[in-house]
Amino acid sequence: MSALPLRTREPGPQRFRDMSVKVGWGIVAWVVGIAFFLPVLWMVLTAFKPESAAETWPPRFTFSPTLSQFRLVFSGWGPYVTHSVIATVGSTILVLLLGVPAAYALSVHPVKHWRDGLFFFISTKMLPIVAVIGPLYVIALKTHLLDSIWLLIILYTAMNLPLAIWLIRSFMLEVPSELLEASELDGAGRIREMTEVILPVISPGLVSTALICVIFAWNELFLALNLTVTNAATMPMFLISSVPQEGLYIAHLSAAATVASVPVILVGWIAQRSLVRGLSMGAIK
């Protein structure tokens, strides 16, 4: 029983209509994607311009590209990027150290009032940090933590911890209960259970959590702006400093903006799949 030669029929008018509808919407999607990406593209493009080509009318799409803006950025960013890295990495590590046990206590072997605990954590997220910035400044002043990288680490940890706890908890809840029961039967105590069973299983989840924390810590402006001056100034502050009172600065600003944004953009592109989960605090998988 052999088949007749395939595609003996002309695709009927219906098939053709289906295909063109499909292609049509695909084109619309591309247009939308490019339009949305355009400002980013423009930012990167402008970063390669000499200042003279940056503030022109009409805006120029062709010019002789130069790396001088980037060189300027890299010569000036030293302390800023160091502070950003320390604050980001430091707070993320602290978040994981505090968050993993807390999530454990709210999921696998829950405390009696775990619901209250969870809601307490999320409520701190809902309180606007702006409301307490004045007294926070005063406290920082009095404890000599003002303009200190430690202050940022402490505050960023507090900022990301609730989100991390919800997120890590959602991963822990996915550990099959049979696995935990088997390890219990095998005589594993709490610590063993954590290190041998839970952590290995949720390690991709921990990575996603860390990435989300990195995104929020790196981009944070408000606290850095109000509580640091020079000794702990981070990348967002560097950006602000690229806007001088006078003189041309657009190309340099674009280069600084590009450099400042690239790490998080890369992190976000890589962690795309877990972004939704992170942002919805584990509610959407």
């Binding site: 695909g26 999607a29 591309w30 949305f36 990406f37 400002p39 980013v40 423009w42 402008t46 503030e55 009318w57 805006p59 150290l97 505090l98 046990p101 807390a102 454990y104 206590a105 072997h109 405390v111 009696k112 969870l118 701190t124 606007p128 702006v130 409301a131 307490v132 910035i133 004045g134 007294p135 400044y137 005063v138 402490i154 507090a158 908890r169 959602s170 550990v175 935990l180 790196w218 402006l221 408000f222 109000n226 967002p236 602000i240 806007v243 657009i250 600003l253 590009t258 400042a260 944004s261 953009i265 992190v267 976000g268 592109w269 795309q272 939704v276 942002l279 919805s280 959407i284 998988k285």
Partner: protein, 314 residues
């Protein structure tokens, strides 16, 4: 498959049920929680208590003599200050507009991305990038290279439509800030809705096809009801994040022109930084917190109701 998962929130059966525990057992369970709990309490509640204290004080940075008891006078002046009320109003407008428009666009984009086409992954990456751009960077890039009246790209692109050298940040300041908020948060809404769309069981859609539903009818009767929990979640989370927006206001318009774009976060910032009025800022801060608690309580109740919906599986 994406699911709006109740199990991570309200009703979840924890993995190992708490047995009738001995005292020791109970403390064993509490112990891991304590570091994080204590940390958060110290770092967030103490500043808040201090804020509360200062709200009843007359304390100006630039006035020597420290803080004096002022009773409720700070609160009185906050409620009577037009600036506070206008900041509140601006916050409401900015948040509501941005959330609604971002959600509508998010749904439309998610519908677009739910179909297969060449380069779908690339387009998805392009659309989510605005969300990943550092808000400070986005603010400065929009303020300068995009919206500047003399060399901004937007004016150039809108020329064929009869738009000439508009100083967006002067004449349409609030709108401009809202546009940047929408630009950065639409991808967030889109991702949430897309997760929902991709969780819709395929055979239900096929059944609708066989039953004679066209594309519009399918969306109206099936897809939209299915997406409701996701849309509600997106609006909820988006509002929480958007109400606190600060970077764009500070860096694009600095609250201006005048106070045209001043929202609550920026108002509080100004009180501390320019007016040096710690007492007044504290009072405004406490009021902001109370308002947020009220809204958050509604929101949390909505959160709870949303999660009774198990992502609609039949």
């Amino acid at each position: 498959m994406a699911v709006v998962d109740t199990s991570t929130l309200l009703a979840p059966e924890p993995v190992v049920r708490p047995r009738e525990a001995s005292r020791r057992e109970r403390w064993q369970r509490r112990l891991p929680l304590l570091p994080a709990l204590i940390y958060i309490v110290i770092v967030t509640q103490i500043p808040f208590l201090v804020t509360l204290w200062y709200s009843f004080q007359n304390y100006f940075f630039d006035v020597p003599g420290g803080a004096h008891w002022a009773g409720l006078s700070n609160y009185k002046s906050v409620f009577t200050t037009a600036a506070f009320r206008s900041a509140l109003w601006h916050s409401v407008i900015m948040t509501v507009t941005a959330v609604i428009v971002a959600m509508i666009l998010g749904v439309l984009f998610a519908l677009l991305l739910d179909r297969k086409f060449i380069g779908r992954g690339v387009v998805r990456t392009l659309i989510i990038t605005p969300f990943l751009v550092m808000p400070a960077a986005a603010a400065l890039v929009w303020a300068g290279p995009m919206l500047d009246p003399n060399f901004g790209l937007l004016n150039y692109l809108l020329q064929p439509f009869g738009v000439h050298h508009v100083a967006w940040l002067s004449t349409h300041a609030l709108g401009s800030v809202i546009v940047v908020m929408i630009w950065q948060w639409t991808p967030f809404m889109m991702l949430i809705v897309l997760a929902g769309l991709q969780g819709q069981p395929a055979d239900v859609l096929e059944a609708a096809k066989v039953d004679g539903a066209g594309a519009l009818a399918t969306f109206r009767e099936l897809t939209f009801p299915f997406l409701r929990p996701y849309i509600e979640l997106g609006i909820l989370l988006g509002s929480i994040y958007l109400v606190n927006v600060f970077d764009q206001v500070r860096l694009m318009t600095n609250g201006g022109p005048g106070t045209a774009t001043t929202n609550l976060p920026f108002y509080l910032y100004e009180q501390v930084n320019n007016a040096f009025d710690v007492g007044g800022a504290a009072a405004a801060g406490v009021i902001t917190v109370i308002l947020t608690i009220i809204v958050a309580t509604f929101a949390l109740r909505l959160f709870a109701r949303v999660f009774q919906f198990e992502g609609a599986s039949s």
